[in-house]
Amino acid sequence: MLRTFHKGGIHPPDTKLSAHQPIRDLPLPGSVAVLLSQHMGAPARAVVNKGDAVKTGQLIARGEGFLSSHVHSPVSGTVAKIEEVHDVSGYRRQAVYIDVLGDDWEDSIIRDGTLDKNIRSDGEEILKKIVDAGIVGLGGATFPTHVKLSVPRGKEATCIIINGVECEPYLTADHALMLEKGEEIMVGIQLLKKALHVNKAYLGIENNKQDAVEHMQRLACGFEGIEVCELQVKYPQGGEKQLVQAIIGREVPSGGLPIDVGVVVFNVGTAFAVYEALQKNKPLIERIVTVTGRHLKQPSNFRTRIGTPVSVLIDAAGGIPENTGKIISGGPMMGKALSNTEVPVVKGTSGILILPEEESARQTSQPCIRCARCLSVCPMGLEPYLLMPLSQQNLFDRLEYEHIMDCIECGSCSYICPACRPLLDYIRLGKSNVGKIIRSRKK
């Protein structure tokens, strides 16, 4: 029996349409819009002005404060303007628009594709380079990586876990990266281990990616202290808390972080970005984006410069299908639906999913029949059937008592509900309201 997390979980159909597509370089777009806020935390402050010439990899915005991150120019050209652009939520946010002119890279960046296994830096230097390269968690939450690497006083990291689970249906970006850049990822893991002064790393991969499991297991033999764990397929195994439990059996306490049980979790994409930052001096300016959908001509994995409009990606994959009803940034379980295709790719964009009209509309919601399916699939052991009406009635005290803040918003409850009730919609609303109350209480 393969390892997995113990509580709840669902099995949505895989639909990994682009699973065996090689990573292709997306041609440079005519212009990019680089958002100043691509990470969790305070937006970065632009350090270039309109009309400035920039090189690929040049710092264009500085992350100020602890919870923030630098932003680099993904292309070379001139800064056209610093103005607002629609982000995934449809709200307008500040971005640096750059008109692309050639592809002139910063001189310090090593651009050959050779593997460099030789680790030269010590822990401090690794941390500093990660800050300089503007690396954030590439799994989707975009939490600045250097913050994760700074273990709070009184806590100790004993191992790291690398997330190669990719439990979201459709997405294959991490899968493709592991197949093509396996060794680089391994070096990246060694670097992360060194930065945290730990000796053990686990790489978790679900067994629907058998080729990746075997490939990484073979590579792991050449590296000390890396164990590849094959995991049973179950959503949401990519959730930090679920992954920690699946791999080392420790349970992150309610309201806590993985570091509370001595673990720090990184995505494989992050490990690769760390490798590039340290060994190749390359900041985070591109990432792998899966463009997929049942009716799309050519579901693909693209190496995409940050700031590229989503429409360019869709065109490269064969153009937008006639019957498109919904375009999602991310996977179908936790991704955000876009209202507009001019949204730029950000550091956290793992995929673009195109759903046809018939799959876009929600089913009509029916009365709850108390079948308890939501309760049995909830990976956090909550009671969604109860939380939804409590949230509708604004009973915040009760919601807090029922531990709504433990919810990881994985969407398993809404997925499974036979009455198609919008459980997560209301739970998310209740969670944000209760969160506000808790924060105001702390002040």
Binding site: G90, R362, D425
Partner: protein
């Protein structure tokens, strides 16, 4: 047979008597003293428990009123000045008077004026739409039209207009309790001074975008052109973030601003129809006097 009936009556009566005695003793022993004036004050309050005063309910407000030295910060918007005066008489204190107010929706982004740019499909509440994204129209400040305000109104004073997709305030029923103001995630409601005959002049827009962008997303958006600001003789108009705001307490309803607005974002209601330009002066005079 008779004996059974007699015994039943006697035993039941005894049981009743014992229970009554126990209840009486308990009631005496655990009685909580309450100021009798609380009941009197509560009787004066409208009993809507709307929370418009900031307290959990009418009883709660009554308790606070009785305890308070002066009525500072305590006001029942639903009952208004009359109710407060009567309560003042009961408690022997002077009650503040406040202007009567009314809720006004500051958005005119109807289906016609503000074209849809996406379709929302999810739980139909404004709060969820707001948390998710910028909304069905290009305007990220305007009304979602899912009617959270209608649901929260205790006085049946708000209704959705199916043609415009916007809520409409019923001026007869609105008590200015402020529930809609608190609920609207876009903060589109304002409590404005209520004039006789429900005359109103207000900027029906909350869009802070620059003129061109605002106009692109909504044909009746305030574009921050300053024209109304310049024409106002009473300094009632404030410009902030590309948006004009008419202070309802400074405004004298002179109607000079409305015709200036190039996008018709300034709405005036309750006035007699405008006469030809030459007569405008007289119309204003009659209103002011």
């Amino acid at each position: 047979m008779t004996a059974t009936i007699v015994y039943t009556i006697i035993s039941l009566s005894l049981l009743g008597a014992v229970a009554a005695i126990v209840l009486y003793i308990v009631a005496q022993r655990f009685r909580v003293y309450e100021d009798p004036r609380i009941d009197l004050v509560e009787a004066e309050l409208p009993a809507a428990n709307c929370g418009g005063c900031g307290y959990a309910g009418c009883r709660n407000l009554a308790e606070t009123l009785v305890k308070s030295e002066n009525f500072e910060g305590l006001f029942c918007p639903v009952g208004g000045n009359e109710t407060m005066a009567r309560i003042g008489a009961i408690l022997g204190r002077e009650a503040d008077t406040q202007e009567t107010r009314i809720a006004v929706l500051r958005c005119n982004g109807s289906c016609e004026n503000s074209p849809r740019t996406s379709n929302f499909d999810g739980a139909h509440t404004c709060a969820i739409v707001s948390a998710l994204y910028s909304g069905e129209t290009g305007c990220q400040y305007g009304c979602h039209g899912f009617g959270d305000c209608v649901a929260v109104c205790s006085f049946d004073a708000l209704h959705m207009d199916p043609d415009t997709g916007l809520p409409v305030v019923d001026e007869q029923k609105c008590t200015a309790c402020g529930a809609c103001v608190k609920t609207c995630p876009r903060n589109l409601f304002e409590l404005r001074k209520k004039w006789k005959g429900d005359k109103k002049i207000y900027v029906s827009c909350m869009n802070e975008d620059k003129g061109g962008l605002a106009r692109k997303n909504c044909s009746v958006a305030c574009i921050g052109c300053n024209k109304c600001f310049k024409v106002c003789p009473h300094e009632a108009i404030v410009m902030r973030n590309n948006l004009a705001f008419i202070d309802s307490y400074k405004c004298k309803l002179c109607r000079k601003c409305a015709p200036e607005c190039p996008t018709h974002a300034i709405i005036e209601t309750g006035f007699p129809p405008r006469k030809i330009k030459a007569d405008e002066k007289t119309v204003e005079d009659t209103i002011i006097n």
